[in-house]
Symmetry: C2
Subunit: 325 residues, 2 copies
């Protein structure tokens, strides 16, 4: 990650990074901490994918604001027993994502630690008129989501159910590989976020880290609104549909509350919905309408095709986690 | 820490903080991670002081660049067994320092963890022509340091030698209190850094976190220079002088290599030295000339009053720590 960026006067190697702020843009800043045995386990997380994921989940936050990521700072706590090769591969993973999105590493801190700890702070830019917030959803707006839901949660469930059996990482079942990969290597939806933001298509947007219900809940809270979701419209992958009932008793609960999808969830005024769908189709990007914003008194309700209300067994994923996001 | 800052469009409560960049200034960004049992132990660290210190050591990095701190992001990993009161007091400590320096908390992340982990990213501003780097020291420049040296290292030594004896925190020996306090509650030299930067008085500057020798070494490396230090000129507190030989066999080694002083170490062209000393005197701030920059081939050498070279037993404090600073 060489510092070729002319807006950085000093990066690694001084007391602080010196950054020329963007002209006619605003700064976006986000931070996320990943801790071994809380967010991941070394049993089934290889260092390359861990590095990629650590940076990608921060990128997902910038994507959700409609911004362009630029710089990051990396703090790490590393146990003494880790092989040097492991740390090198962690960096390789981080570097792969940094190169993919043209990011510069501008600072950091490294320390010994009992458990692997990775904290990344990511700085991006955006135009004031393009930034998308959690607030702004209006009754009647369509609710849409990128990609598919539930793969990451099902992938984690699969890894956990094969704990101690490392052969799962070499499985030849393509469905299992796809689901596990979505958990280990989420793809931040930067292109999708930019497409939405630069065309002013979203009234509100968030990335799904805590699960559809929990994160839609954040939009509803900030927008003082309610919502109805059509369960049959939820974008579920073929792999998810084929495997989900082997690992849990409900076909949809993991998709609506499992967490770590890192897809974008947004609301769009009805008259912009068609344009949005057209632009995504043209760009080869996946997005699906799944419901509609309602009045705040309506609450958050899910419906089946026959008109019956669906009541999930579980609520959003929220292990004493106040993401400050 | 209410968000009254009109330059922040969204802070806590969205996917990323939205920050209007300063006009006609540049951004300074720094990050530091503190991990229980590596950087501190809960045995003798109360949560209020820990919160203050976590923010202060980041402030010290901004001070060393001559900048003005503005915003911070706070990531925490907290064990489940911590009493709620403890976490509240940690916040109180952070808040006290944030209020003192007029800082806004703009984002963060909280997670469970096995060990208390605190990562702060601090963002500040500075004028391009005022920022002080580690590079820039020239042969003949005076070397100066704010405050006193060695108190923090001696304070830590005292705490460690009384391990398990919690009465040390209630000692009525004012010397011990002063030394321990410097370790637990370092004061970032923001006013000193600004005074130096806005008057363009430093050719190079750094904060002393790893010890005088190690951090002067960073200036010398970045500036391609050498240095001579006059041991008798090192600013040692009365408390330090009275206690140091009770805890270690050398009167000066802790002061030159102990670490965590969080004082500013700077070099100043000889013709500006007098002005600098005058301004500090007028402002009631402490600064002391301790040596002179030499040619790079000279290396880093310390001298006693009788002209003999002093060879310390220890080198800088550097426990597998690459501060990225």
């Amino acid at each position: 990650m060489p510092l070729t960026d002319s807006n950085i006067a000093a990066g690694i190697g001084d007391d602080a990074a010196v950054m020329k702020p963007p002209t006619r843009s605003i700064c976006l800043v986000t931070t996320d901490i990943l801790i071994e045995d809380i967010h991941f386990t070394l049993d089934y997380t290889d260092p390359i994918r861990l590095g990629k994921k650590a940076l990608s989940i921060n990128l997902s936050d910038i994507a959700a604001m409609g911004g362009t990521p630029q710089y990051f700072l990396l703090s790490m706590g590393l146990p003494l027993h880790l092989p040097f090769r492991w740390v090198e591969e962690l960096f390789q993973g981080i570097q792969q994502v940094a190169e993919r999105y043209n990011l510069s590493l501008i600072g950091g801190d490294t320390s010994l630690a009992r458990k692997v700890t990775i904290n990344i702070t990511l700085i991006g830019r955006g135009k004031a008129g393009e930034i998308t917030y959690r607030k702004g959803a209006q009754p009647g707006d369509q609710i849409m989501v990128t990609g598919t839901l539930g793969n990451a949660a099902l992938g984690l469930r699969i890894l956990e159910s094969h704990k101690g059996d490392s052969s799962i990482s070499r499985t030849e079942d393509n469905d299992l590989t796809e689901l596990i990969e979505k958990h280990l290597s989420p793809i931040p939806r930067i292109a999708e976020g930019r497409l939405i933001a630069k065309n002013h298509l979203a009234s509100a947007m968030i990335d799904i880290s805590d699960g559809l219900m929990a994160d839609l809940g954040h939009i509803l809270e900030e927008s003082h609104a309610g919502a109805k979701i059509w369960v049959s419209q939820l974008p579920l992958s073929e792999a998810y549909r084929r495997k989900v009932l082997h690992y849990t008793s409900s076909e949809i609960d993991l998709a609506i509350s499992g967490g770590e999808d890192y897809e974008l969830l947004l609301t769009t005024p009805r008259k912009k919905g068609e344009k949005l769908l057209g632009l995504f189709k043209k760009s080869g990007l996946k997005i699906t309408p799944i419901g509609e914003i309602a009045d705040s008194r309506y609450g958050l309700r899910l419906f089946l095709d026959d008109g019956r209300e669906y009541r999930p067994m579980v609520k959003g994923y929220d292990h004493f986690k106040n993401r400050g996001k």
